[in-house]
């Protein structure tokens, strides 16, 4: 049987048993005598009482439970013996016993999410705590699993839900462990503090690690990936505790003292002076190299940051200009207007682009600032807001894109035939329409496809021309105009409206140089495909623009390298500049002996030299003139002049 008392300790009422009360009372009385001569003794006692009350209530299973002697003994150990209190002269002995007790109390391993040491939800570090390994290792494994198998993310979420967060008591015990952990050392950083963190972990100077990383950036490239992964995975050493854990030993005074002692001992045992000086010289030299390397790397980082900053600012200015149509670059906006009918879809796509661009630019600028000035504001909320913004932008873009795709899902083709007066020689020429104040021009070299835009509209040079043998005796051009739209009739009406003209006058056919869509028109993937049908024996003379149209047909067997052609039974043959025909000397193959091996094109006509004959073709009349056995023949084809007819 035990007597119990109700006491008021630091404002909390406890029920305490006889023996415990005696012990507590004794302790407090000792404190009072101890601090009797100290200024503010009353305050000190009050504070200690309050803390003890707090500790006791933490140990009680419920508020009305009876405080017993064990609890009081534990509390007194935590608070410290009276003699220890006024100066921190705790001896090694006391420290070790204290550590033992605290470990005994707390060292129960539970699988809990470690919120103190988290990147996302503390799952990885919780697992690491459970298996007593470094969290970074677990994170790297998770990331690998995530990328390779894709299941890591799901696993992580499941664990997130299943694992409880760690309780305070567990945190205490974990934090008190003196294990060495890999942290990013943000006090000594160039980028993310990875290198210095690793350096501390393996006990090297940070510069060597940085040098290694810098080399691997340039040399192998994978260093960059490794760095980024580590940046994500390795936590920052934020709290003093983490900084201590990073170094693997507590910065308590005994450690500092030990180090001082070691130095003294070393100094005593030091080698003779000369050796010493040599050593220190070598040391200084190494130190200087390290410092220079560090400065260079640092400068590199700063330059990088400045470049980033400039990029971001220029980007923002450009975006603003584009968006408000101030600069010439407003063509993007114009182009969007011409592409998209639906105003809502247009606005959705525009705002999507704006969101993505601005979020990207802002994060570039923020990173640049952080690099430049080593700013240490909380980055997580800012970056999550920015990624939310760009995510929204992407969502809008995808939605708008689907809507737009739907509005151009059908293609229709409008066909018409243009008949051309029959001539033995046809001149195919193209107009030279150029846009004034061209804003942008995209040209592909190989097939002469070009796409330019100005304030007037779009000039698209994609039209293709094929030349085929006509089965009848007539000459005609089949023109296929195609366009896209929501429905077939929709697309057809767009196709009909395509502004592409072919003018046939006499023996000259004039093609527009490109498909022109004025600014107020709609651009729905317009295209024009033409087929010129000519009877066998017709000679064609083309200009550069037409040559391009011919060569845009990707699947042509021979490229149209020359400018004069003749239609044969077997198809179109090039009369000038054709390597195929130069090598072949087969008379039966073609109607006339066109075994040319040299040609010349002048203003007045075309001179073609053959081995056997001279042929003059004039106003559609074909005349074989002469046959000579020596030297090359001179073939003269008079250029057809319109005004003479």
């Amino acid at each position: 049987m035990n007597k119990v008392f109700n006491i008021n300790l630091g404002g909390i009422v406890f029920t305490i048993d006889d023996v415990a009360f005696e012990k507590l009372n004794n302790y407090i009385n000792k404190l009072k005598t101890h601090f009797a001569n100290t200024q503010g003794a009353k305050d000190i006692i009050m504070d200690i009482e309050a803390r003890m009350a707090e500790l006791i209530s933490g140990k009680l299973p419920n508020p009305s439970a009876i405080v017993n002697e064990t609890i009081i003994s534990e509390i007194i150990i935590v608070m410290g013996d009276v003699n220890e209190l006024d100066d921190e002269d705790t001896s090694e002995r006391k420290q070790t016993t204290e550590q033992k007790t605290s470990n005994e109390f707390h060292n129960t391993n539970k699988l809990r999410r470690d919120l103190n040491n988290k990147v996302l939800a503390g799952v990885c570090s919780g697992i690491a705590n459970y298996f007593e390994i470094d969290p970074t290792l677990v994170r790297v494994i998770f990331l690998i699993v995530f990328f390779i198998f894709g299941s890591g993310g799901l696993l992580y979420i499941i664990l997130w839900v299943v694992m409880k967060p760690m309780e305070e008591s567990d945190q205490l015990s974990l934090n008190s462990q003196n294990k060495k952990h890999l942290f990013r050392d943000t006090d000594d950083k160039v980028l993310g503090g990875i290198c210095s963190g690793i350096a501390i972990y393996i006990g090297l100077d940070a510069v060597w690690v940085r040098l290694f990383f810098a080399l691997s950036f340039f040399g192998f490239g994978f260093g960059f990936i490794v760095y980024v992964v580590l940046w994500i995975v390795v936590p920052k050493a934020l709290t003093p505790t983490q900084k201590l854990q990073m170094k693997g030993n507590p910065i308590d005074v005994s450690n500092i003292e030990r180090e001082v002692k070691n130095t003294f001992n070393q100094a005593k045992q030091n080698a003779p002076k000369v050796a010493n000086e040599v050593k220190s010289f070598a040391g200084n030299a190494t130190h200087a190299i390290i410092e220079i390397a560090g400065a260079v790397i640092n400068a590199f980082g700063k330059i990088f940051a400045v470049a980033l900053l400039l990029l971001g600012i220029i980007g923002i200015i450009l975006t603003a200009f584009l968006y408000f149509g101030i600069s010439k670059g407003a063509f993007i906006k114009e182009f969007l207007n011409m592409c998209i009918d639906d105003g809502t879809v247009l606005n959705i796509i525009k705002s999507g682009i704006l969101l993505i661009v601005s979020a990207t630019l802002l994060s570039i600028i923020i990173s640049a600032f952080r690099l430049l000035f080593n700013l240490k504001f909380k980055k997580r909320p800012i970056y999550s807001i920015l990624s939310l913004i760009s995510f929204t932008g992407f969502a809008l873009l995808i939605y708008g894109g689907i809507k737009y795709g739907n509005s151009v899902k059908t293609k229709s083709t409008f066909t018409q035939n243009i008949s051309v007066e029959k001539h033995d020689t046809l001149y195919l020429i193209s107009t030279k329409k150029e846009l004034d104040n061209e804003n942008i021009s995209i040209v592909t070299d190989d097939d002469g496809i070009s796409f330019s835009m100005s304030d007037e509209g779009i000039l698209q040079q994609t039209q293709k021309l094929k030349i085929r043998k006509s089965f009848s005796d007539s000459v005609f051009i089949e023109v296929k105009k195609s366009s896209h739209g929501y429905t077939k009739s929709d697309a057809l009406s767009f196709a009909e409206k395509i502004n592409y003209n072919i003018l046939s006058q006499d023996s000259t056919i004039t093609f527009d140089q490109g498909i022109f869509i004025p600014k107020n028109g709609k651009w729905k993937y317009p295209d024009v495909k033409m087929t010129l049908n000519i009877p066998v024996g017709t000679i064609l003379k083309i200009d550069d623009g037409v040559k391009e149209m011919l060569n845009r047909n990707k699947f042509n067997e021979n490229e149209y390298s020359g400018k004069i052609f003749i239609m044969t039974e077997k198809g179109l043959k090039c009369l000038d500049n054709s390597p195929d025909l130069n090598e072949k000397d087969d008379d039966d193959d073609i109607n006339i002996n066109w075994s040319f091996f040299e040609s010349d094109s002048t203003d007045t006509g075309i001179h073609v030299f053959t081995k056997k004959k001279k042929v003059i073709i004039e106003n559609g009349n074909k005349t074989e003139v002469e046959e000579k056995r020596f030297g090359p023949f001179h073939l003269k084809i008079e250029r057809h002049k319109k005004d003479e007819n």
Binding site: D47, L85, T90
Partner: protein, 109 residues
């Protein structure tokens, strides 16, 4: 040489610096300070803190106010006075210099 005395002297100044810097991060009450100091192994027994806090308060580096708490009696929340901030800054500079100096001295090969 009285090694115990040296140790005590060393630890005393550093402990004050630590306490001031914990309080500088925002208002805290005694148990918060204890938590941090224990985590970082700056103190072993809790009782040490209270005389120090009182002394810092008497030196007018700290002030406190009572704040009602949901669980239990009101708590003393500490904050730095202007003088406290000044001292902290000075201590911080000294500490950084000291760390560099000690490192330089002890790490020299």
């Amino acid at each position: 040489m009285n090694i115990e005395n040296t140790k005590a002297q060393m630890k005393k100044g550093i402990l004050e610096y630590c306490i001031l810097s914990i309080i500088s991060r925002g208002e805290v009450y005694a148990s918060d300070i204890i938590e941090e100091l224990k985590n970082s192994k700056m103190i072993v027994v809790e009782g040490t803190l209270y005389p120090l806090l009182t002394r810092l308060k008497n030196d007018e580096l700290l002030s406190y106010q009572w704040v009602e708490s949901n669980s239990g009696p009101p708590r003393k929340y500490f904050q730095l006075t202007i003088e406290g901030k000044r001292i902290l800054k000075e201590l911080s500079e000294t500490w950084n210099e000291l760390v560099i100096a000690v490192n330089r001295t002890t790490k020299k090969k």
